[in-house]
């Protein structure tokens, strides 16, 4: 780290923020790593071609999936779904909202802001240092997810597909203990290392998108925190925004009439499975800002474009937070 950059931050503050956040950060990173590893191992249990049998049952609901079903019949496509798993998204959301909400309203609520700002440190520097430490933590979580997938890919073996008739869709859905599930789990071909079939590098865009998503959430939380004096209320406000945006995305996906709503939710810029698909099928567009729209109509944001959008929105939120925090009156500790 250059000396100038450290001057823009503050060493004692960095140490303080690191010590405050290390438990949450390291435990979240460990969960991310372990979960992603296990998730890849679970994928390895179900041969890709036979997974089609299960998924075909849900063809009517394909619109709710971020990528076409054909993508999910492949190992990379199914592994990419890891980034949409509740645990992964929650780990990042809890970290981002938890840390972002702490920067102003957390210190105010605990009454520690007065002693902190009685020192010769500007409010903007305080916010910038906090943001830097939190962004580093978000990057660590994204890296942990990728490392978990990398470890999973390099430690599991998958069945080599053998030519066999396409299984017919069945209903009811195969339940644990049914013959169908046993059939899915049966090994019918030679097993090869998953790394022969999947290149872990195709998941970098997904990990980057996860980082951008976390960065945006941290910026949004910091903005809410800079206006407030109670951390619980900040968390409540950001959680409410999160849920509303999620509902907007679902409604936008559910009906063509409301498809425009997808453009009003930040969840539309979080599409790690699509970016893995891009990395697999059109590697030259892995880090593109824009790419051709569906069926070649118009344009849509590419993997890098979505990341830039999320990080840009996060930076705008941080800027707003800095302006509000620098100008506001600090309430006396209660």
């Amino acid at each position: 780290m250059s000396r100038g950059r450290v001057r823009r931050m503050n060493r004692p503050l960095i140490r303080k923020y690191l010590s405050e956040s290390q438990l949450l950060c390291l435990s979240s990173a460990l969960v991310m790593f372990a979960f992603c590893w296990v998730r890849v191992w679970l994928v390895s249990l179900f041969p890709a071609d036979r997974f089609r049998t299960i998924l075909e049952q849900f063809r009517d609901f394909e619109r709710f999936f971020p990528v076409p079903f054909e993508q999910m019949f492949t190992y990379p496509g199914r592994i990419a779904l890891t980034y949409d798993e509740f645990i992964v998204v929650m780990c990042v959301a809890v970290w981002s909202i938890g840390r972002g909400s702490d920067c102003v309203s957390g210190e105010l609520g605990r009454g520690t802001m007065e002693m902190l700002l009685a020192q010769p440190v500007s409010r903007v520097k305080l916010l910038f240092t906090h943001a830097t430490v939190t962004a580093a933590g978000t990057a660590l979580l994204a890296l942990a997810s990728w490392l978990g997938i990398y470890a999973g890919i390099h430690t599991t073996r998958v069945e080599q597909p053998v030519a066999q008739p396409m299984p017919q869709p069945v209903w009811p859905f195969p339940m644990p203990g049914s013959g169908m599930v046993n059939q899915l789990l049966e090994h019918q071909g030679p097993r090869v290392p998953m790394s022969d079939k999947v290149d872990a590098a195709v998941f970098w865009p997904a990990a980057a998108n996860l980082f951008a998503f976390g960065f945006f959430l941290t910026g949004l939380s910091s903005l809410a925190s800079s206006c407030d004096r109670y951390r619980w209320r900040t968390i409540g406000v950001v959680s409410a925004i999160y849920v509303i945006q999620l509902i907007v995305k679902i409604v936008g996906l559910a009906s063509d009439r409301h498809a425009w709503m997808q453009n009003t939710t930040f969840f539309s810029a979080y599409a790690p499975e699509r970016f893995v698909s891009v990395a697999v099928h059109t590697p030259q567009e892995t880090w593109s800002l824009i790419q051709a729209g569906e069926q070649g109509h118009g344009f849509m944001l590419g993997p890098l474009g979505c990341d830039v959008l999320l990080i840009g929105l996060g930076l705008i939120a941080y800027l707003g937070a800095a302006v509000i925090f620098a100008r506001r009156d600090l309430p006396a500790p209660v």
């Binding site: 004692p12 503050l13 405050e20 605990r110 002693m115 009685a118 010769p120």
Partner: protein, 291 residues
């Protein structure tokens, strides 16, 4: 002037927390702020630190505007909040280290030495400290700095009498080192003991400023006199004020030293006389006597 405020005002809606406060504190002075809760003492201190923005008026510290040059102001100020809250997960020694490192020229050794003088166990976590221990820790943080101005908001609250004495000694040492102290308190005896000048606030207004050296010269004379009171001699510091209380005693307050009056007093047809230092309480009660 180290501190200079001009018609400093802070309003919260219809409530005026501080109104037209014009105050000057000279270098090397210990200036006390007195007033009941809600009088505006803490608001004034927080305005000086730049924690809140004034509604109108200005505040300067060493010529630096407290709003626009707050960072430079805080380089020159060490502040102890009225209820100092510290990071609960840290140990005492980590707190001392953190704040010493935050301030250019801060000394960990000095703050540890001061903590020892205040008989504080710095190995404990803040969360495991009593209120008094936390106050000592905050005092060690604040008083160990080399800042030319110390702003202390009720520094002796939550402390036992022995440590209170130590804190007053420390403030005296700060003054002897030529630094300036702005000191808010409810304890009149402490203010009387350490301050050079005192400002009394009432309902957000600075209603009186008292030079303590003058106050120490002033006396109250309670006398029962036979017959009418003859005219008092002319005094350098102003006329002798007097009134008759309910019991018929004459209560006189000297505007300055007592000695010029002693000759005159000896000529009075006195039945009974009592002479006592005027004290800060008498001044304070003039403005807050009914509260």
């Amino acid at each position: 002037m180290v501190i200079e405020t001009e018609a400093l005002t802070k309003r919260y809606g219809a409530i005026s927390a501080l109104a037209d406060c014009s105050l000057r504190v000279r270098p090397g002075e210990v200036f006390g702020l007195l007033g009941p809760n809600g009088a505006g003492k803490t608001t004034l201190l927080r305005l000086l630190l730049g924690f809140v923005r004034p509604t109108s008026g200005s505040a300067l510290i060493n010529g630096l505007d407290c709003v626009h040059r707050s960072l430079e102001v805080r380089r020159q100020v060490a502040y102890l909040p009225g209820e100092a809250r510290l990071f609960r997960r840290m140990r005492g020694r980590d707190i001392l280290r953190f704040f010493a490192d935050m301030r250019p020229g801060g000394s960990r050794a000095d703050s540890v030495r001061l903590a020892e003088r205040l008989e504080l166990d710095v190995s404990r976590r803040v969360s495991a400290m009593s209120t008094g221990m936390r106050q000592k820790l905050a005092l060690a943080v604040t008083l160990s700095t080399a800042a030319p101005l110390l702003i202390l908001d009720e520094p002796t609250s939550n402390l036992d009498p022995t440590v209170r004495g130590t804190v007053l000694e420390l403030i005296g040492e700060v003054r002897r080192s030529g630094r300036t102290v702005l000191f808010s308190s409810h304890v009149l005896s402490e203010v009387e003991h350490v301050c050079d000048r005192v400002g009394i606030l009432r309902a957000g207004q600075l209603v009186h400023t008292q030079v303590m050296s003058e106050l120490r010269q002033r006396h109250r004379i309670l006398a029962s006199v036979r017959g009418p009171l003859p005219e008092a001699p002319a005094l350098v510091n102003g006329p002798l004020s007097y009134e008759v209380d309910e019991s018929g005693r004459v209560v006189m307050e000297t505007p300055g030293a007592l000695s010029p009056l002693l000759g005159w007093l000896s000529t009075l047809p006195l039945e009974q006389v009592q002479i006592e230092p005027l004290g800060l309480r008498a001044i304070y009660d003039r403005f807050h006597g009914s509260e």
